[in-house]
């Protein structure tokens, strides 16, 4: 059964936000990932989530179901359809989908947008092209085989041509073809090429509407003071001073909602402009019930979890016999790694506009996951899905923060209470102090070497508050998905053990760009470098040897990893950097390689030190992410990932004292700036494998490569981040 339908004549097109008229194809992409569902077999229940509309004027409307947050997804997803369809890119209009299950999974997270949607996108594009060719053949009364498509026109071998738009009326009435042919990848015009982002003009002239820029008539602005301690509640508050601030309209209490994405609760100040709301917030006098997390002291906590990794933990993986390997070793090496919490700090703070009217509600928000936002709003209002519309604005960065819609719930709660459209705006201080933090971690690694310098045993024991604790309060050990990236380490070692230590959470823990791969990528790569030194070998040779023979490794994931591809990216990065060739005096290289989100990434960094301060000169990153949809987007993502990785390596550190986060803004939660940037050189491996993740896997390799380079240069090994704690930046 063909999962793609011609719905041009069907009435429900309006419900998906398309005007009727034109040739409209629809498809349910879930059949590409799952078994064919019953509803797809039956036209009456056909539930499409991907739409293509070609209008008589030639305009081509494509719906982007994923969020744009700098990942280029609005461009890359739609360019796949346009390419297969032989459409003219300048005629494409990208329409952003509202949050609705009818668009399939919309969560823009886990670096999977292109990975999941590539095949259905190609298919629907190829099908539209076939129908247009068929319509032209009918018009000319010639066989289809004499017709070809090119840049929004169908051509006949005689030289006749007809524009796509002029074929719409005929194509509308055609059945979708049962057989389709895809373009030969060598004929791709957009896929794998540099393609300008569809939104770039709006970004540079200031007209792009981010969440913060949404305005409604009579909209009021709101700011909230939340308890400094996670999950603390309001004991009492005095609003007198706040109410005196010019522009403040009201001050109300918003109770905490005890759900993973519920609001933390607090006191909301509603005002006629953002600044008045911020001033009113500063003027509030609040007494809090801090609750248990008031005891959270991240420095003490680090000692506590480090204690837990220095004793036996719960077993997460046990292959061979590590103890025996250690006993028979020529040498054993052990190290402990400590990494702090991180905050996402996207350039655009969390914010949302909501307008609750009776039991209906419309939201405009920068969200990575509009369906999850919709669910939270439906629950909060006790209403039904059809009554809630989530419009996705541009996102001023997400990095995982904006897939957690607590801020949407806040806007809804305040709008409901005030009976007015409300924009809730977090201050930067709110963003830094009340986030869903990247976990804090301690890791103990121990390995044994034989006389030839081969690694015979590997133990990784780690403790970190789990993301699972956000969803199931009380979880106090790392969860399966946090263990697997330590357990699936792509090294050919016969005896391997992974253990986890107790590590309860005292703040909300969430996923941040590349997630668990940050601590695991760091400890594995720094430790492997240390082992190379202990074995007296060149780190590159040692690492290639450690990865071992070419093989496909089984993991619990549907996609298996291929050690040949992993070694290939490492070799290419080394080659691009001229690894092994002499560098200028006082410069050194460090390397690292990591597999995550099904992609293979290696980075070599070149550093120097001036007055004991690290300067990164060059970063050579190579990625193998299968088929590349938009080459320039992939390149941009890896350039950005190098900077993101450097920011966390140099400065990233969130700490807590008496339960409260100590940092407050970009002044004490610092970012890499223009004067610190290296040259980032990106190579993308040519591949026809399925597309895999791009947005995240470039991050985890950066910090360990820098630390390894510092060792090479100074002979000092740094096990903890950020480097600013050592005075190195």
């Amino acid at each position: 059964m063909n999962p793609i339908r011609n719905i041009s004549r069907r009435t429900f097109v309006k419900s998906v936000g398309l005007a009727s008229g034109g040739l409209i194809l629809a498809c349910n992409t879930s059949v590409f990932s799952d078994k064919e569902t019953a509803e797809n077999k039956d036209l009456a229940n056909f539930n499409p989530n991907l739409f293509v509309q070609l209008n008589s004027d030639g305009s081509l409307i494509l719906i982007a179901s994923r969020s744009e947050m700098g990942n280029g997804v609005r461009t890359s997803l739609t360019s796949v359809i346009a390419d297969e369809m032989d459409a003219d890119w300048t005629k494409v209009i990208v329409q952003q989908a509202v949050g609705d299950a009818k668009y399939g999974d919309q969560n823009t997270d886990g670096s999977r947008s292109v990975r999941y949607l590539y095949e259905p996108m190609r298919k629907i594009g190829a099908m539209a092209r076939a129908m247009l060719i068929s319509a032209a053949a009918q018009t000319w009364k010639v066989p289809m085989t004499e017709c070809t498509a090119e840049n929004h026109v169908v051509l006949h071998s005689s030289g006749k041509k007809i524009a796509y738009g002029d074929l719409v009326e005929i194509a509308k009435n055609l059945e979708v073809p049962t057989e389709i042919t895809y373009k030969n990848p060598k004929d791709f015009k957009y896929i794998g090429k540099k393609l300008r982002g569809v939104d770039v003009e709006e970004y540079v002239n200031g007209s792009a509407i981010f969440g913060l820029d949404k305005r409604l008539p009579n909209m009021k602005f709101a700011a909230m003071q939340r308890c400094p301690v996670t999950f603390g509640t309001v004991k009492s508050f005095d609003k007198t001073a706040a109410m005196k601030v010019a522009g403040v309209i009201d001050v109300i209490e918003i109770p905490r909602i005890e759900k993973p994405f519920g609001t933390l609760g607090g006191i909301a100040v509603i005002a006629s402009n953002t600044w008045a709301a911020f001033k009113g917030k500063e003027a509030l006098k609040i007494e809090w019930n801090f609750g248990d997390n008031v005891a959270y002291d991240s420095e003490k906590y680090m000692k506590q979890i480090t204690g837990n990794v220095h004793k036996q933990g719960k077993v997460g993986k046990d292959v061979g016999n590590v103890n025996k390997a250690f006993k028979n070793a020529h040498k054993t090496i052990e190290s402990t790694f400590q990494l702090p919490h991180l905050a996402h700090a996207p350039m655009e703070v969390p914010n949302a506009v909501a307008w609750v009217q009776g039991d209906s509600c419309e939201v405009w928000a920068p969200t990575q996951d509009p369906q999850s936002a919709r669910k939270e709003v439906v629950d909060y209002l006790g209403t039904t899905e059809e009554k809630v519309t989530i419009n996705v604005t541009f996102l001023g960065g997400g990095f995982g923060r904006k897939s957690k819609p607590d801020y949407v719930v806040e806007a809804v709660a305040i709008s409901k209470a005030m009976n007015a459209p409300i924009q809730v705006v977090w201050t930067r201080e709110d963003d830094i102090k009340h986030g869903y933090y990247h976990t804090v971690s301690s890791q103990y690694l121990k390995a044994s070497l034989d006389k030839q310098g081969n690694v015979t045993g590997w133990l990784n024991r780690f403790a970190l508050p789990s993301i699972a604790s956000t969803f199931s309060p009380g979880v106090d050990y790392p969860a399966g998905f946090e263990i697997s990236s330590a357990a699936n380490v792509p090294f050919d070692i016969k005896n391997m053990k992974v253990e986890v230590g107790q590590s309860p959470a005292h703040v909300r823990i969430g996923w941040l760009r590349s997630v668990i791969n940050i601590p695991h990528g760091f400890s594995q790569n720094v430790f492997a470098d240390e082992l190379a030194v202990a074995a007296g070998k060149d780190p590159l040779e040692f690492r290639l040897n450690l990865i071992g023979e070419d093989r496909i490794e089984e993991t619990e994931d549907p996609i298996k990893y291929n050690t040949a591809r992993l070694k290939n990216v490492l070799k290419l990065a080394a080659k691009n950097a001229n690894w092994g060739k002499p560098l200028p005096e006082g410069h050194a290289y460090g390397l690292s390689v990591h597999y995550s989100f099904y992609s293979y990434v290696a980075s070599v960094v070149e550093i120097s030190m001036i007055d004991n301060k690290v300067k990164v000169h060059n970063v050579y990153t190579v990625i193998d992410c299968g088929t590349v949809v938009n080459r320039d987007t992939v390149k941009a993502q890896l350039e950005g990932a190098a900077i993101f990785g450097m920011s966390l390596a140099f400065y990233g550190k969130i700490t807590a004292k008496n339960g409260a986060i100590e940092q407050s803004n970009y002044s004490d939660y610092k970012m890499i700036r223009m004067n610190e940037i290296p040259k980032v050189h990106v190579e993308i491996v040519e591949s026809t494998e399925n597309p895999t993740g791009v947005g995240e896997p470039g991050v985890p390799v950066i910090a360990p490569a820098i630390v390894n380079a510092i060792y090479k240069l100074t002979g000092k090994r740094y096990y903890n981040l950020p480097l600013s704690d050592y005075g190195l930046v």
């Binding site: 540099k194 770039v200 200031g206 007209s207 913060l212 350039m347 993101f644 223009m674």
Partner: protein, 152 residues
């Protein structure tokens, strides 16, 4: 009443004189291209040109802008438009949020120094954070603009 002159147009607004220029521009005048990123003068997202000098509009009371010429990202200035074209050609923006501030900072730089060195670019752009990490392309786009201007 305070009179602001923004992008060549006069706006009469009734706000407290200490309201930061940023919020007057965004919430009162209604030009949302100028962004809030930190509110304390450390990220550059809110930069505008005040009588041709780049300022963090979150740090300047609206009263201090009275009688001066404010240019925002929506405005017109030779270098701004040239830089915007280079930004587009090199696909500089990722999320795009910091880019109005970056473009204003770069405009002020080229207004002052027609052929800046890398050092001078660093100095002019150091106050602007890009969390997406587009710095390398920003630098290239500034160089490209200078090159194109030289070629006339």
């Amino acid at each position: 009443m305070i009179t602001l002159q923004i992008n060549g147009k006069k706006h009469q607004i009734d706000v407290a004189p200490e309201m930061p220029l940023l919020w007057a521009i965004r919430d009162i005048v209604g030009l949302t291209g100028t962004k809030y990123g930190c509110g304390i003068g450390v990220c550059g997202s809110c930069k505008v040109l005040l009588d041709n000098s780049p300022v963090q509009s979150c740090m300047i009371p609206v009263s201090a802008a009275e009688g001066k010429n404010v240019i925002t990202i929506e405005g017109v200035s030779e270098n701004l438009q040239l830089l915007q074209a280079s930004w587009t050609a090199l696909n500089v923006p990722q999320c795009g949020f910091c880019q109005p501030g970056q473009l204003i900072a770069a405009t002020a730089l080229l207004d002052k120094i027609s052929e800046p060195t890398d050092e001078e670019i660093n100095e002019a752009m150091i106050g602007n954070i890009c969390r997406c990490g587009t710095y390398q392309r920003i630098k290239s786009a500034i160089h490209r603009t200078v090159e194109l201007k030289k070629q006339g």
